[in-house]
Assembly symmetry: D2
Homo-oligomer: 368 residues x 4
């Protein structure tokens, strides 16, 4: 199975370069009978599009109209592969001609050339963030599948440019969806917006942290010992460009804590859990330091994780780099780039989460 396919039962293969004819995906293994429309997919694609009102975003215009090429008949999935194509537009390939022979710092230009011996230099080719369009389209299908099971995935901006959004006072997850920075806090949304405006004028970029919470997950998901739920989610997150770290539940903080404090205690569960095999009792936990996963298997508590993104490497400051002959080259990336990728990456984090959950639901069904 090639490196562009993800999942074991609910599998997705994505394709496409930034400035080629299009990007897209093929989902194989989605059960038959799931209601699915192009509108559902377009809705998710719209969430990752650059926003004109966002201080964080590129000004590139992407129409991103998905076309379902197969696998859906009269509004329901057929159980056959679902191919989705999104044509590229507004490509401005000429902008990139200058980059043909030069390697941008912090980008994959040279490493991919060192791997493949050839690269599509236009906008980074497949190493571009545009590749995530295929993931988001596939994630929309996964969400459609998951919708009947009650699984709900919510991502938000937890931190940008060193400004941490407080989790308590003023935290409002519903506010996140409404603002282009995906900050779940009215006051901090504005703080971060101002910070990003400053960085833009300074021709610099910022990193940040995305948080994600998955609720409604039945206990029992995850396939030890190598495909533990957190292990596969970690792969999913680190496969997103610019991600440098992931932590579950108490994460790195748990490395500094004690067992007596971090062990989550059980609590009686008044409502019987669904999806349990016969014999297993319904339980829950009083705390959730584990982030919803123990021994690689979901506990039934919400799954909580955080993903660290490095700053966008494309900055308009002059940078000294090398060209394909190894000669020095002074580079000034001019263009339509995000200052911080986190807001637009939230739908990608959610999409990858949905793909993992859909696959794990199906894999776990064999034990029923």
């Amino acid at each position: 199975m090639g490196g562009n396919t993800f999942g074991k039962i609910f599998t997705v293969t994505t394709f496409g370069e930034s400035h080629g004819p299009g990007v897209g995906c093929v989902i194989d293994g989605c059960p038959a009978g799931v209601p699915l429309t192009e509108e559902k997919i377009e809705h998710e694609l719209a969430r990752r599009k650059p926003s004109s009102v966002s201080a964080a975003s590129t000004t590139r215009r992407e129409a991103d109209k998905p076309e379902i090429l197969s696998g859906v008949f009269e509004g329901r999935t057929l159980g056959t592969p679902i191919a989705v194509l999104i044509r590229n537009q507004d490509q401005c390939s000429d902008d990139y001609a200058a980059l043909r022979d030069v390697y941008r710092p912090g980008h994959a230009d040279w490493t991919w050339e060192a791997k493949f011996g050839i690269r599509d230099y236009r906008g980074g080719g497949r190493s571009s963030g545009r590749e995530t369009v295929g993931r988001v389209a596939a994630g929309a299908v996964a969400k459609a599948f998951l919708s009947k099971s009650g699984v709900s995935i919510r991502g938000w901006t937890a931190s940008i440019a060193g400004i941490n959004v407080p989790q308590d006072n003023g935290f409002d997850i519903d506010f996140a969806e409404g603002n282009p920075l995906r900050v779940p806090h009215r006051e901090y949304a504005e703080k971060i917006r101002q910070k990003l405006e400053i960085l833009r004028t300074e021709h610099d970029s910022a990193g940040g942290v995305a948080a994600c919470s998955i609720s409604g997950v039945p206990p029992g998901l995850g396939e030890p010992v190598f495909d533990k739920l957190d292990a596969v989610l970690a792969q999913a997150m680190l496969s997103i460009g610019a991600v440098k770290a992931v932590e579950f539940g108490s994460g790195f903080a748990s490395a500094y804590g004690l067992g007596s404090a971090l062990n989550d205690r059980f609590a009686p569960c008044s409502v019987p859990l669904s999806f349990l095999p016969s014999g297993a009792p319904s339980l829950k936990y009083a705390t959730n330091n584990a982030g919803g996963i123990l021994g690689g298997v979901s506990t039934g508590m919400s799954i909580e994780f955080r993903v660290a993104f490095k700053p966008v490497p494309s900055i308009s400051q002059r940078q000294l780099t090398l060209d394909h002959k190894g000669d020095p080259y002074e580079l000034s990336i001019d263009g339509r780039h995000d200052v911080c990728i986190v807001p637009r990456a939230i739908p990608v984090v959610e999409a990858m989460s949905a793909l993992v959950l859909a696959d794990m639901m199906l894999l776990n069904s064999i034990n029923r």
Copy 2:
């Protein structure tokens, strides 16, 4: 491919429960002709064994003599599956009878029962740390394969119980191998030892951070977009019990930094790199914030990552939990448990790294 198989070309399947007849692995896809002996495997297994001199360790005695059942002939691999068996000893199953109907906090007891509807309660069954014996045995084979390519993997204890080992003054990676806590610093090894002794008397446990550095990695390893080198390493690390987080290079810190500071600059490379496809120039980097991976592909710089382990959940303090009827149960885990798992997990981190690198070397060879 089941959840107990890892890798695509160089694949390993592990098996075994803590108190069953044995644990082990089958490696399929190791090229023929690699020199391999049981002694090499035993050497790595010895590194993960509990040490009588370590304040961190359980007092369980494990002989851990590996037997190569197949795939090796006259000291060299045949290209056929290499099965390795390590029998369990000193099992003391009776110690665990009390745990038959009760769920230990922080362990996988209940989640695995919620998944499978059945569990081997003796020592946690397959969710036990003993499962990692199969990984270490397989990692020894991967290391044997990698040895001719110059790849070198070194793990060490970076932090335990809140005590961070300084990376500069006094840091001595060779010292790490010699002391049972795998601390690469004479002074801090003693500090941490004392801290763990105190925790043991307090019937508590501690988390910690393992660091790993992989040098000699050629540029070009990693299979975008889903099997990026860091993505698969992240899966590998999170698949190890008790791991809650992983970060590469600047990791979480990069989420708080700026692009102008974090972009690694290129530097001319005086010695031509091997493994490069024709046409790609030899380059290196002046800094390594990326941790040796850009766009999911190795840069040729050393790969650097850190892994957070939660505290060992087995503590001798009284803990309130629930039994299989959902009734309260006061639990006091008596037994031979590690206070901090990090020192013994270092060989596991290395083994999983070796498995990833071996697979990625083979996968990348198709582009040559």
Copy 3:
């Protein structure tokens, strides 16, 4: 990995229903740098199109212009996924409205509904022969990859409607490509054409046998014990619609023979074979009862196999069948159907062979 993906390194995922927007494929794992154009793909697609001059063929018109959506840049593969789309045309969905609630004998109508609970009844949906367009497109890419290695794949019609094409007198493989029935024998091409004309007037259909010969295959291909070269070729062939049997070399005849007669003898090999690992001597065989494969591994002799196709189940005679309520229904399939599928299946047999060989070449390269 879903059932619509084939291969381990050189993988193809196909998609598409007969009367949906289009059919196509995504190839992942094709090495970078392979010259590839839409013309090459279109050439292979043209070979499987119904021919107006063929007595065997449907009269459906298919333009079958492939569009490469990704993975190719300036005429060479990038090492990234290669997506190819062929739009459906001339669909005449209305012709099929009558089939909405009735199950055609010999087709997959009911079994697929029994599997998925839903089906696209228009032209059989994905169970249609039109699905093979994606395979042929992918096979064209595989052929492009194989072309530099000297592997050559030739399929032909060996038998139709009980008329066996003699392998000796008058056999002319080059003649096969030139005639629409792919019969490698001028005289028998005419005999078979006349037979098919008669069957068409009788509203009946015929089965037949396709033969395939692959030359230029280096010894060593095949991945025992489950992915033996013949085993994977057998899967590839039986995955083609209407195939009911496959045999390699002496095939079923060898079940009736003696060891003393069927063992192929070795012969000295004057020219050193390429691709051999060091130490293995160059040998060949005096005969080829094995069909080029021993112990699941290629011998260096040409690979020879034969594939049996059942008669096209769509016949214009009245057939008694059942509808979705289990009630009797008298069916008369009116339409543009092939009388015998073998001639048009030859390019599909070749395409699947090419996919297998490409994958096996890459898999075997790990032993070099």
Copy 4:
């Protein structure tokens, strides 16, 4: 996934050489809670052992006592990997020293050396028929899983040395199990026995055909388009040593027939079928030319296929061959070899069938 792993959900990895320490398998993906004992596995292993009363068999003694190393607790599967080890005995490696530098005709000696550059010459190493012990052990686990679903697999000898067992008069499937040649016909069992005695005195060997019937299969099994039920069964069969062909239902005969004769008609089904998705009506077929599979998906009728085995290549006649220098060598294989492998291959055919069916049952469950 290496070439020694088979299946997608219910997966088996086999290991072991003929004269190494042992052979065995690891099954991953078997659902939890399946009753399993070493006795069940030993029973199947006994069926493939050479029989002292069989004219067809080698006189090698194999104890073949399986040891379950993992995955079973208190008589039930845990949902974790099930490792089974069978130690080799009575190995007589010295017998094979003469074969170190010479290649036996009809065997994999040279092709495997051409692949791997190294081989275990003792008894063919992993290319030996002894490798099938791991398959039969795994098949026993698959049968245990299948037993609750009503699937029943029966194989028998259909033809040996040109003597075809009649399917009508005197055919008695229960008689097959009782006689060492697995011939389901008292009279023909004796005929074949006499023929094999003659061949043994003539130092020759014979091919034959195994037949297999799988009943109780629900409709809907098979994963189009590449993992069709017949496609995967074909791979499974061709992966068995000495197999040269497979045919389903009317098989090669259907290539010579007409559509009007071969289309199986539907028949009303009085008893509602289980496993059907809602909406799909219960139907059956009046005939079974399809061999129980249409469009790659099971029809609910019994699955019928036939497998052709070539003659055992080890014969005691003098054969001229070549050695590792390419020099001529006159070979006389002395030893304990089967005259015809079909009787002992029946349990292997059944085991591989069981593995396919178990996997397909689980894969299909996602549509429920």
